[in-house]
């Protein structure tokens, strides 16, 4: 029953011998570096290889994080080359063979990665047709490709595999190469079924957590009792009764155990007697916002400035101000982070679910003080990560353990490692002010975001930090200034970010970083203005938007949700339902989303139930409408969970929400109904759909609660205790 399948696929690709892994196997061997394939993102053969039998291999630096994007990328390539989808294989995130297309994040996999593949495919197609024209002695304009075969008239058929050799695709990608007209699309825009689902529902799929190497040992880390605690001592004899333990590995404050069997590794990590120093450097959580306000500011960033907001605010006869806060969140991947590391002659191969294999290579090389060329990172899909979770840290742990024992090691985090030590979405504060004319016109808008310094850079690897090794990390909360600027035409606007020197727990990006918190404050506060001037939330948005595409989206949302016909809530009832509306133009340059939330408020208990969401979504050209719907649904459900329930808790030493009981998420009985209007614009460029919808969820819920009760919620999560307190204060 226990199969030791060990397959190594050698494929003749575009004339170059490429070593690759066929991944539904669960077993693989460390491979020598191939070294013969270009990974240039400027070249067609960086991304594509066409074998003599016509099979296409796509080399994608963007990876499928469980979003279905591998299917969408395959659609794009198959479409441009006019080959069947079944002929296309995607190799993802292998530093040896895939171009560095940056981190798979920010809803850029299709918008950027997919377009690189489209241009590479279009350039390849033009070259294939040119060669076919020469061979068939026909004018290139008379040729077409069907199902991977060039049709050259009079029955002459030239399979594309017969038209390529080792140099055919050694071309610079031409972004002006002719691409297919959307009217001719056979695959793009269609709800093609995801390629991975049959294997995932029948257990044939190999997740990172399933990946094995021959001779592989099992590693577990033993993390400190406090974030900054140091290791005083450990007693190896405390686990001498556990069989199969190979080694206790200590490097400064990095501690781990390696065993031959997984259960022995788990027991050894749990039972190892360790003394850590007492460390109580975290702030008092009950005073978290005072702590944030007293943290040194290293810089102010002006996100947007229009007119002169200070004087306009000062002169305004009516003034509004409010403060919004957003709690610390964890990624909460259902599968704790995992990686496998193997050294061969001083060279590291690391199998990882990292969303940034190329960055991870740099970091591991720095940590180990070896050349980047001596590190190969290979992506294997893990459980969904929703940003920079613990996968990279598990990779560092695996590398440190593997080096210490001289054998391949699988480092698998336990649940408490994941909840306790994955990087967190930082605590975020926003102070908002508006100046309003007597008759209701908004004359000034000012916001001050208080958020850690940094962008979407390299996040320090925890294992490296504990071991006292450099992993090139710095404060990197993600691109958190995005969507601080507003989409509305207000004559005087200043939006400022105060960048903090530190934040209590190591931060990183979690789905829609900054955009989520900023849009929560912006849209909620815009609703506060609407309420102040007696305007309907939809009407005031239409009034202050100049963007025709945004206005069209809002009108379609109004029709979908029957916004203008919605019932008036009975604010005296114990159970009262309200509706809230929110809008975002993502980063002010791409995907438009509008939502209406229907929320039931229990005035006795303070419990909120999100009953229904209506979504209007315009991300330009849609590649796969069902895949897009799946992502939008996920954005709604996950963000309802974050808005209503989630908050990382900690004492002065360490995170205390270390499991699903102490960090509850939304469950089946609490899931809202979701109705979606997808606005497809085949003639436009495709934008991202993996996260923009998240951004509008908290403010839409808050707007619904306001409509239902007259109470404005300004602190996420909207717990029953906060709702009751707000109701009482009225």
């Amino acid at each position: 029953m226990h199969k030791m399948i060990h397959r190594r696929a050698l494929l003749q690709a575009g004339g170059a011998l490429i070593v690759s892994f066929s991944l539904p196997l669960g077993q693989a061997k460390a491979q020598p570096a191939a070294g013969t394939k270009t990974v240039s993102p400027d070249r067609v053969d960086g991304f594509l290889a066409i074998a003599a039998d016509g099979r296409i291999t796509v080399y994608s630096g963007k990876v499928d994080l469980g979003t279905g994007v591998r299917t969408a990328l395959s659609q794009i390539v198959a479409e441009e080359l006019d080959v069947p989808m079944r002929n296309v294989t995607v190799v993802e995130g292998d530093t040896e063979v895939t171009p560095d297309q940056g981190t798979t994040s920010g809803s850029f996999s299709i918008q950027n990665g997919g377009m690189q593949l489209r241009w590479a495919s279009a350039t390849a197609r033009r070259e294939i047709l040119r060669r076919a024209a020469t061979r068939a002695r026909r004018d290139v304009s008379s040729l077409s490709i069907h199902d991977g075969v060039v049709i050259a008239g009079s029955g002459q058929r030239l399979p594309i595999g017969s038209l390529v050799d080792g140099t055919t695709l050694a071309l610079k990608i031409d972004e002006d190469a002719p691409v297919k007209a959307p009217a001719d699309y056979a695959l793009v825009g269609k709800p093609v079924r995801r390629l991975d689902i049959p294997d995932k529902v029948t257990a044939r799929f190999t997740f990172m957590q399933d990946f094995k190497l021959p001779g592989m040992l099992h590693g577990r880390v033993v993390r400190p009792s406090g974030v900054g605690a140091t290791l005083i001592s450990y007693d190896a004899s405390s686990i001498s009764h556990i069989p199969d333990v190979v080694k206790v590995v200590r490097i400064n404050n990095f501690l781990g155990v390696v065993a031959k069997s997984e259960w022995s590794a788990i027991k050894a990590a749990q039972l190892l007697a360790v003394t850590w120093s007492k460390w109580e450097g975290l702030p008092d959580q009950t005073k978290i916002w005072e702590h944030v306000r007293s943290t040194p500011i290293v810089r102010d960033d002006i996100a947007s400035r229009v007119g002169a907001s200070r004087s306009a605010f000062a002169a305004a006869p009516r003034k509004l101000s409010a403060t919004y806060d957003f709690a610390i969140h964890t990624h909460g991947s259902i599968g704790p982070s995992c990686a496998v590391a193997s050294f061969d002659d001083g060279k590291l191969t690391c199998w990882t679910a990292s969303q940034a294999a190329h960055d991870l290579r740099k970091q591991l090389a720095a940590m180990l003080a070896i050349a980047q060329g001596d590190v190969r990172c290979i992506y294997v899909e893990g459980a969904g990560c929703y940003g920079r979770n613990g996968h990279e840290d598990a990779a560092a742990d695996a590398a440190l353990l593997a080096r210490a024992v001289g054998a391949p090691v699988r480092a698998q985090w336990m649940r408490a490692d994941e909840h306790g030590w994955d990087p967190k979405g930082p605590p975020t504060l926003l102070d908002m002010r508006a100046g309003i004319e007597q008759e209701g016109a908004i004359t000034a808008w000012e916001s001050e975001l208080i958020v850690p310094d940094g962008a979407a850079g390299l996040v320090a690897l925890t294992g490296a930090d504990l071991a006292g090794l450099d992993s090139l990390g710095k404060l990197s909360p993600g691109g958190v200034l995005n969507d601080l600027a507003i989409p509305y035409r207000v004559p005087n606007v200043t939006t400022t970010a105060h960048r903090l020197a530190s934040t209590p727990l190591r931060p990183a990006w979690i789905r829609s970083p900054g955009r989520l918190q900023n849009t929560f404050a912006n849209e909620s506060f815009f609703d506060e203005i609407a309420a102040e001037v007696g305007a309907d939330p939809l009407d005031i948005r239409l009034k202050y938007l100049a963007d025709a595409r945004g206005k069209e989206l809002l009108e379609r949302l109004a029709r979908l949700s029957q916004w203008r016909e919605r019932p008036k809530p009975d604010r005296n009832a114990d159970l009262v339902t309200g509706r809230g509306l929110a809008y975002v133009k993502y980063e002010l340059v791409r995907t438009y989303v509008g939502v209406v939330a229907e929320v039931e408020v229990n005035r006795r208990t303070g419990e909120l139930a999100a009953k229904r969401f209506y979504v209007a979504h315009d991300c330009g050209q849609i590649i796969n409408p069902d895949g897009l719907r799946n992502q939008i649904e996920g954005c709604i459900v996950q963000t309802v969970s974050r808005t209503l329930k989630e908050e990382v808790t900690f004492d002065r030493s360490m995170v205390t929400s270390l499991d699903w009981a102490s960090y509850p998420i939304l469950t089946f009985p609490q899931i809202p109904e979701i109705l979606i209007d997808l606005i497809d614009r085949p003639q436009e460029v495709p934008w991202g759909g993996g996260e923009p919808t998240c951004a509008v969820v908290p403010s839409a819920i808050g707007g619904a609660v306001f409509e239902a009760t007259g109470v404005r919620l300004r602190s996420v999560p909207f717990t029953p205790a906060k709702v009751l307190a707000a109701l009482k204060a009225v």
Partner: protein
């Protein structure tokens, strides 16, 4: 150390472990190479490790090997690519997967429900799955898939 005999996916197999408290999950994954049941929490909180023991949905991460006496079925034994269980087919038809890490538990829990209640209401399905966690937010599709498998 004694050999333990188990019935897994219709076959009698034997396994020797030094610790009878070894959770069934690790035996299935590491001794028998079965990847349907997954490690999610090790605490019986999320459901990713779910298997059937005598037809009932059981959390294999908190079930000691020594406590297992019945017939074990994992996702691999429920159905195959060529001959999927109706719940597996329904998950494909509804495209009820995002990352798919929790899906083993969703399918095994739902199949156990349908075996004892072939015509559940949507509320029955949600109640049955209340202790199965999904972080991607695929819940609506999962409920639709189970209802489809029930012929609703």
């Amino acid at each position: 150390m004694a050999a333990t005999s188990l019935n897994v996916n219709g076959r009698t197999v034997s396994v020797t472990v030094d610790d009878p408290d070894t959770p069934l999950l690790y035996v299935l994954r590491n001794e028998f190479g079965l990847h349907g049941p997954r490690f999610g929490c090790g605490l019986g909180q999320c459901g990713a490790c779910t298997v059937h023991v005598d037809g009932a949905a059981v959390r294999s991460c908190v079930t000691p090997l020594s406590a297992v006496t019945g017939r074990i079925v994992t996702l691999e034994g429920l159905g195959t690519d060529a001959n999927p269980h109706p719940v597996q087919q329904a998950f494909i038809d509804e495209q009820a997967v995002q990352c798919g890490y929790c899906i083993n538990g969703m399918i095994m829990q739902s199949a156990a429900l349908l075996a004892r209640n072939p015509k559940p209401s949507e509320q029955d399905v949600k109640t049955e799955l209340a202790n199965n966690l999904c972080r991607c937010g695929t819940h609506l599709r999962i409920v639709r898939a189970v209802m489809r498998a029930a012929g609703a």
